[in-house]
C-alpha cells in the first residue's frame, strides 16, 4: 500500500490532462464545424475563423501545464520519485481537480461560443475584434481554475 500516494498523485495529473484536453477537443470540434461551413462559402475568411476555432484549445494546454507541473513536483520527470503517503497523494489529486473539471466544461462552452462568434465573422467580418471577445470571456474561468491548480500544486509542501 506504500505506493498508493504516488498513484493518487499521478491520477491527479492524468485527470488534469485528460479532462481539460477532452473539453478542448470537444470545443475545438464544435467550433471547427462552424468554421468549415463558413470556409465552404468564403475561403478568404479562413485565417479569421481558424483563430476563432483555436480559442477553445487553450484549456487543453492549461491541463497539460498543470499535469506537467504535477509530474515534476512528484519527481516523476527528473528521477528520484517522492515517497508520498496516501494523504499527500490525495492532496495532489485535489489540487489538480479545478483545471480538470472547469477545463472540461468551459472548453465545451467556449466551443459553442466560438461557433456563434464564427457566425459573426461570416456575416460581419469587420467585427472580428468584438467577436473574439465572447469566447475569451468564457476562458476567464478556465484561467481562474488554472491559477488555483498551479498555486495549490506548487505550494504543497512534502
Amino acid at each position: 500500500m506504500s505506493h498508493l500516494g504516488i498513484v493518487y498523485a499521478l491520477l491527479g495529473a492524468a485527470l488534469a490532462v485528460f479532462l481539460a484536453g477532452a473539453g478542448s477537443a470537444i470545443g475545438v470540434g464544435i467550433a471547427g464545424q462552424a468554421a468549415s461551413g463558413v470556409v465552404s462559402e468564403d475561403p478568404s475568411k479562413f485565417a479569421k475563423v481558424l483563430i476563432m476555432q483555436l480559442l477553445p484549445g487553450t484549456q487543453g494546454i492549461y491541463g497539460l501545464l498543470v499535469g506537467f507541473i504535477t509530474l515534476s513536483k512528484i519527481g516523476l520527470l527528473g528521477g528520484g520519485m517522492l515517497e508520498l503517503t496516501p494523504q499527500q497523494g490525495l492532496l495532489v489529486l485535489a489540487a489538480c481537480l479545478p483545471i480538470g473539471i472547469v477545463g472540461l466544461i468551459s472548453g465545451k462552452s467556449q466551443g459553442k461560443t466560438s461557433a456563434a462568434a464564427i457566425g459573426i465573422v461570416a456575416k460581419k467580418p469587420e467585427q472580428f475584434g468584438k467577436a473574439m471577445l465572447f469566447p475569451a470571456m468564457v476562458e476567464t474561468y478556465a484561467i481562474l481554475a488554472l491559477l488555483i491548480s498551479i498555486l495549490a500544486v506548487t505550494n504543497l509542501q512534502f
Binding site: 506537467f68 475569451a136 470571456m137
Partner: protein, 678 residues
C-alpha cells in the same frame, strides 16, 4: 493622441466645372462629402444611376478579362503578395490609358468573347466525343448503318439485350421459323448485357426474321448511321481536331493579351473611380448654372484644399466649425508608436462624440501586457526580427496591415525584455542543451540567470505583480474618466464618480496591506507596515464608502431611493475585485508559454546525446517551438485585447464613432502616384 478636428466645408461653384472639381477633390482624398438633408430651393439632384452602372459594368468587364487571363496565363503570385501592396503607377500612364478607354475596353471584350468561343468549342468537342462513344460497338460493321440491302438480300442491323451467343440466335430462328434458310448472322461486338449484330437474309424472309428477333429484344440502332462507322468516326475525329485547333488559337489569342494586363487593371480602377464620382455627383444639388457640395475636411487639410480649388476654378469656399449637435466623422492621429494599435481600437469602436482617443495610453499598456503574457526572450526576438524584415522588405504594404505588423514588432521587443527579466530563452533550452549535449552541470537557477525572478518558482510573487499592474491599468482608466468629466466642467460628477472611488479603493487597499491574508500571499511580514497604514486605510475606506452611499444616487430626489442607489454603487466593488483578479491571466499565460517550451525541450532531449539525439532534438525543437509560439502569440493577442476592451475600456470608454471615409480613388489594383507639381 487625438481625434483630428474636422471642419465643415461648403463649396458653391459653376455647374460646368463640377466634374473637374470633383476630380480634384477625389485626387486629394481629404473630404468626406455628406448627403444633403434639406431640399434647397431651385436646386435638385440629378439621377446618375444609369451612368454609374455603365461604369461599374465596364469595371466588371475588365475584372472578368483579368480573371480569364489569370486562367490562361497564370501570373505568378508570391506567398507574400498580400504584403506587397498595390502596384505604383505613374499618373501620366494612368491618364494615357484612361484616354484610350474605348480601345482597352474593346480588348477586354475581345478576351471575354474569345473565352466564350473556347467554352463553346469545348462543349462541341464533348458532344462529338459522346457520338464517337456511341459508335464504338458498331466499329466492326463495314457497311453503312442504314444499308438497305441488295436486290435479293436484306440486312438487319441492331442490338439485342441479354448475353446471347451466335448459336443462341441461330437456334432462336431455327426454332420459330424452320422454313427460313440462308440467314447469316454476324456478331459485331458484345457487351455484358447487349449484343450488337448484323443479320443478312433473303428479302422475302426479312419481316419474319425481324419479328422473331424483335420478340427477343432486337432493336435497330437509335442513331442514324449513314456512313460506315469507321469512316464516321474518322470524320468526327477530324471535326474534333478542327475544334481543338480553334481552341488553341483562341487560347493563344487570349494569351497574347497577357501583356495588356496592366491596362486592364488600370481601366478597371479608372471606371471604379468614375462610378464613385458619379455616385457623389448624384447626391449634389444642382441648379441651372451652379452646384453645391458640402462635407467634412480635417481642419489641417482645409487650407491646402482651398488653395488647390481656388487656383483652378471660380467658386465660393466656406468653412465653419462643426455644430454641437452634429457628429463628426472620426480620423485618428497618433505618434508612430501609438498608431500601431489603432487597429485594435477600431475593432472595438472609434471614439464617439466627446470622448478622447485612448490610443496612446492603450498602446503602452498593450505592448507591456503582451510581452508579459508571452515573456520569452527568444520568441520575442523571433517576432521582432520577423516583423522588422517584413516591414523593411515590403514598404508599400497596405496601411492597416502595416500598422498591425508594426504593433507585433513592438510587442516582440516587449516580449524580449520580459523574457530576459524572467529568464526564458525558448523556455529552458539553454540548460537542456548544455546538460544533454555538453554534459555541463547546470547550477540551480539555470546557466542564464533571470534578471528579476522566475515566475514558475515564485508564482505568488508573480500573481501579486500581475494584480498590481492590473490595478494601475484600472486606475489610469478611472483617471481618464475623471479627466473627461473635468474637461466638460462636471466637477460634482468628477468628485462623486471618480474621487470617491479612488478614496474608497485606496482605503481598502491600505486595509489589506497589513492583514494576515496579504502577508501569507506575498510572504512578507505584516509588521513592515507602520500601524498608521491600517488606520489611514480604515478612515479612507469609511469616508469613501459613506461618500458613495450618499452621493451616487444624487440624481434621485427620494432620499430612501438615493441611499439604496448609493448602496448598490458600493456593491460595484465586487466588480473591481473581479476586474483585478482578471489580471491573473498575465501569470497564467506567462507560465503556459514557459512550461510548454520546457516540455518541448524535454521531449527533444529524450534521445540523449549522439547524432540521432541531435537530429531528433532539432526536429522537435523547430516544430515544437513554432507551434508553441503560434498558439501563445494568439493567446497573448486575444487576452491583451480582452484586458483593454473589458477591464480598461469598461472604466471610461464607450466608442461608437463613425469613421472618416474621404472621397478618393478607391482602387483595387494600382495606386496612382500623384505628381508633386502642385
Amino acid at each position: 493622441m487625438a481625434v483630428l478636428q474636422m471642419q465643415k466645408v461648403s463649396i458653391c461653384a459653376l455647374k460646368k466645372d463640377r466634374k473637374a472639381i470633383l476630380e480634384k477633390i477625389q485626387s486629394m482624398g481629404v473630404m468626406e462629402i455628406s448627403r444633403f438633408e434639406s431640399e434647397e430651393e431651385g436646386f435638385q439632384t440629378v439621377n446618375t444611376q444609369e451612368d454609374r452602372s455603365a461604369f461599374e459594368k465596364n469595371a466588371a468587364l475588365a475584372d472578368t478579362a483579368l480573371n480569364i487571363l489569370q486562367e490562361y496565363v497564370p501570373e505568378k503570385v508570391s506567398m507574400f503578395a498580400s504584403l506587397e501592396g498595390k502596384d505604383l503607377i505613374e499618373k501620366s500612364k494612368y491618364l494615357e490609358t484612361a484616354h484610350r478607354e474605348k480601345e482597352v475596353l474593346d480588348m477586354a471584350a475581345q478576351v471575354v468573347k474569345l473565352h466564350k468561343q473556347t467554352a463553346e468549342c469545348k462543349a462541341n468537342v464533348q458532344k462529338l466525343e459522346n457520338q464517337i462513344e456511341t459508335l464504338r460497338p458498331w466499329m466492326n460493321l463495314d457497311i453503312p448503318g442504314d444499308f438497305q440491302g441488295t436486290e435479293t438480300a436484306a440486312v438487319l442491323i441492331g442490338s439485342m439485350s441479354g448475353s446471347l451467343t451466335l448459336e443462341d440466335i441461330y437456334s432462336l430462328i431455327l426454332e420459330q421459323a424452320p422454313e427460313v434458310s440462308g440467314v447469316d448472322i454476324s456478331i459485331l461486338s458484345s457487351e455484358r448485357d447487349t449484343v450488337y449484330l448484323a443479320v443478312v437474309c433473303l428479302k422475302k424472309d426479312v419481316e419474319k426474321v425481324e419479328e422473331i428477333l424483335r420478340q427477343s429484344g432486337f432493336a435497330r440502332p437509335s442513331q442514324s448511321m449513314s456512313k460506315i462507322p469507321a469512316r464516321e468516326k474518322e470524320d468526327l475525329q477530324q471535326q474534333i481536331t478542327v475544334l481543338q485547333q480553334e481552341m488553341e488559337e483562341c487560347g493563344n489569342k487570349i494569351a497574347s493579351y497577357a501583356s495588356e494586363r496592366e491596362k486592364f487593371k488600370l481601366i478597371s480602377d479608372y471606371f471604379r473611380a468614375r462610378a464613385e464620382k458619379y455616385q457623389i455627383l448624384g447626391q449634389l444639388p444642382q441648379s441651372k448654372k451652379t452646384f453645391l457640395a458640402e462635407g467634412y475636411v480635417p481642419a489641417k487639410a482645409v487650407p491646402a484644399l482651398e488653395k488647390a480649388l481656388n487656383a483652378d476654378f471660380d467658386l465660393s469656399f466656406e468653412t465653419e466649425e462643426i455644430p454641437e449637435e452634429e457628429e463628426m466623422p472620426v480620423l485618428l492621429e497618433n505618434n508612430g508608436f501609438s498608431e500601431s494599435v489603432e487597429g485594435v481600437l477600431e475593432s472595438y469602436g472609434l471614439p464617439k462624440k466627446g470622448e478622447i482617443d485612448p490610443t496612446m495610453l492603450m498602446s503602452f499598456f498593450y505592448v507591456f501586457f503582451f510581452g508579459l503574457m508571452l515573456s520569452d526572450a527568444a520568441y520575442g526576438l523571433v517576432m521582432f526580427l520577423g516583423c522588422f524584415v517584413i516591414l523593411k522588405k515590403f514598404p508599400r504594404m497596405e496601411q492597416s496591415l502595416k500598422k498591425s505588423i508594426k504593433m507585433f514588432m513592438y510587442c516582440g521587443v516587449s516580449t524580449l525584455i520580459w523574457g530576459i527579466l524572467f529568464g526564458g530563452y525558448f523556455g529552458d533550452a539553454i540548460d537542456v542543451v548544455a546538460r544533454t549535449f555538453f554534459h555541463v552541470e547546470v547550477p540551480e537557477g539555470g546557466l542564464v540567470k533571470a534578471l528579476w525572478f522566475v515566475p514558475l518558482n515564485e508564482p505568488m510573487r508573480m500573481l501579486m505583480y500581475s494584480m498590481a499592474f492590473g490595478l494601475i491599468h484600472l486606475f489610469v482608466g478611472l483617471g481618464i474618466k475623471g479627466y473627461m468629466l473635468l474637461r466638460d466642467k462636471k466637477v460634482l460628477d468628477f468628485f462623486c464618480d471618480v474621487v470617491l472611488w479612488y478614496v474608497f479603493l485606496i482605503g481598502l487597499l491600505l486595509l489589506l496591506l497589513p492583514s494576515s491574508i496579504f502577508a501569507s500571499i506575498a510572504q512578507v511580514d505584516p509588521s513592515i507596515f507602520p500601524p498608521f497604514v491600517g488606520s489611514a486605510g480604515k478612515i479612507l475606506a469609511i469616508a469613501g464608502a459613506l461618500g458613495l452611499l450618499f452621493m451616487s444616487g444624487r440624481s434621485s430626489k427620494n432620499f430612501g431611493l438615493r441611499l439604496a442607489l448609493g448602496a448598490y454603487d458600493i456593491y460595484n466593488v465586487t466588480g473591481w475585485l473581479s476586474d483585478v483578479l482578471s489580471y491573473s491571466r498575465l501569470l497564467a499565460l506567462g507560465l503556459a508559454t514557459g512550461v510548454i517550451a520546457s516540455v518541448i525541450n524535454q521531449m527533444g532531449s529524450m534521445m540523449g546525446d549522439g547524432v540521432l539525439g541531435v537530429v531528433v532534438f532539432l526536429v522537435v525543437f523547430v516544430f515544437g517551438h513554432t507551434f508553441n509560439m503560434a498558439i501563445n502569440i494568439l493567446g497573448a493577442y486575444v487576452h491583451t485585447n480582452r484586458l483593454q476592451f473589458v477591464e480598461f475600456f469598461g472604466k471610461f470608454y464607450e466608442g461608437g464613432g463613425k469613421a472618416f471615409h474621404p472621397f478618393k480613388f478607391n482602387t483595387k489594383y494600382v495606386d496612382i502616384k500623384e505628381e508633386k507639381s502642385l
